[in-house]
Symmetry: C2
Subunit: 275 residues, 2 copies
């Protein structure tokens, strides 16, 4: 049976109905000890106020979601994007998050060149490393599903996340976030999880629904879909990961519409029976 | 400039407004010499009638779309699925198609095991090879986008299509179909196209829209999206492919709603300017 103390709930799971203060209160009431925080919800609350409430509640913050978006080929835009990236790092440090989720940004229609863009992202990650190091913050390279390559992230497989870590060689700063929903289909998954090993610093769980109908907001509650979630969890644990298991459901058609207290109760059940 | 004689239009592109007889007449009027045929449209028309009309029109049929769907773990269901697969092969041979598009079928919720399911698919492909060979038909293993792994196909990367061809070792029967929309995001694309080489027997072209909003029916007209289409075409040609370039747009929100004659005119333009 999974240790209940490893359960983390991502604010995304109840984002439609709970502000950050409500989310924090809800987690305390339900006895959940760890959370992942959404950057826009933190902004609504105010960073200082959010940091104080998280600390007063005694919650462990696994991560802040998200920073990055540094694919632009335009130099002036890149300067602004890097400023924003640094602000996200500072906010993550301010709330004592274990990591900042990094998403690259999507393909720029001005160049449509994946190789060039990936090189640009690598350069910008290398440039940000000193700032993250001085903030004492880890940056988690997150693989998004390949269907998000156009609009959101050019790290579409765990292999690329591993390649980036190899190239960056700043193991004290860069780690890897694995999200079952993004990587479950990949025939190279077992090998790449093994390769990632101790780089894995976040483990996100959501299921893939057979009749999924949206490229972003139709994630399934663990157990409702097609992913062998215990199988992937065991791979991640065999690679050395012992950290939190973050339930992250972007679900506009279903879970976001329900009473958040009901959602949290079901997450707690499924955490034990389906993960 | 691309040789106009290599243009093939897939019936999918105008499927909402044109029956198979209308599609055939339209292609003749627009001077398009090659088509890909949809199996349900062929059934509506009647296989013999469709075959006769295609032949009378002098159209080259690149492929019939599609057959397969052989992922079931249930033996009785598998027998029925293989019967249906053989019927698809016979229909493709009847209309003198160059190949039958093969899609594996999706993940079965009864086992949720991708490795086991891929092995099952390989066994069923090996079992079908003699029937395809005696029908004189090639089976094109098509990589679908990873977002279709749950519902439709466990061949989610060109690497898996190549692995399958290696394992099957029936080069006279099995080939590979490459669809830009399905594979463009893949960092291993160039290497896997090179590896595929002469296995490539179909080349499908559609663009990926930045704001794409559906997992199946929102493909973009070449030039409207983020894919470096000429770049991928050159890779495919460098690998030895000299065949038809098939424009295949499943587009419920846009192109399916338009006058099919207008759609075909624009396809012909974009074939020259964006592919």
């Amino acid at each position: 049976m999974l240790d209940f103390n490893r359960l983390c709930i991502h604010h995304a799971t109840v984002q439609e109905r709970w502000t950050m203060p409500q989310f924090i209160d809800g987690m305390v009431q339900h006895g959940v000890g760890s959370v992942a925080v959404l950057r826009d919800k933190l902004a609504d609350c105010g960073v200082s106020e959010g940091a104080k409430r998280l600390e007063d509640a005694g919650l462990v913050v696994t991560s802040l979601c998200a920073g990055g978006l540094v694919t632009t080929p335009d130099e002036a835009e890149a300067v602004r994007a890097m400023d924003e990236f640094r602000r996200a790092i500072d906010e993550a440090a301010r709330i004592k998050a274990g990591s900042l989720m990094f998403v690259t940004g999507g393909v720029d229609p001005r160049d449509k060149n994946l190789d060039t863009t990936r090189k640009r992202v690598l350069e910008r990650l290398a440039a940000i490393a000193p700032h993250a190091r001085s903030a004492g913050l880890k940056i988690a390279l997150e693989t998004l599903h390949p269907m998000r390559c156009g609009a959101r992230s050019l790290i579409s497989t765990l292999a690329t996340a591993n390649d980036f870590c190899d190239a960056l060689a700043d193991e004290d700063v860069f780690g890897i976030a694995i999200d079952t929903y993004a990587v479950w289909w990949d025939p190279a998954l077992a090998a790449q999880i093994k390769r990632a090993g101790r780089r894995i610093i976040n483990f996100h769980v959501a299921d893939w629904l057979h009749d999924t109908c949206d490229l972003r907001l139709d994630r399934g509650m663990p157990g409702d879909g097609l992913i062998d979630l215990p199988g992937i969890r065991h791979m991640v644990e065999d690679a050395g990961y012992e950290g939190y298991i973050e339930i992250e459901l972007f679900s506009a058609r279903d879970w976001w519409k329900r009473d958040p207290d009901e959602v949290v109760r079901i997450v707690k059940e499924r955490y034990q029976t389906a993960v």
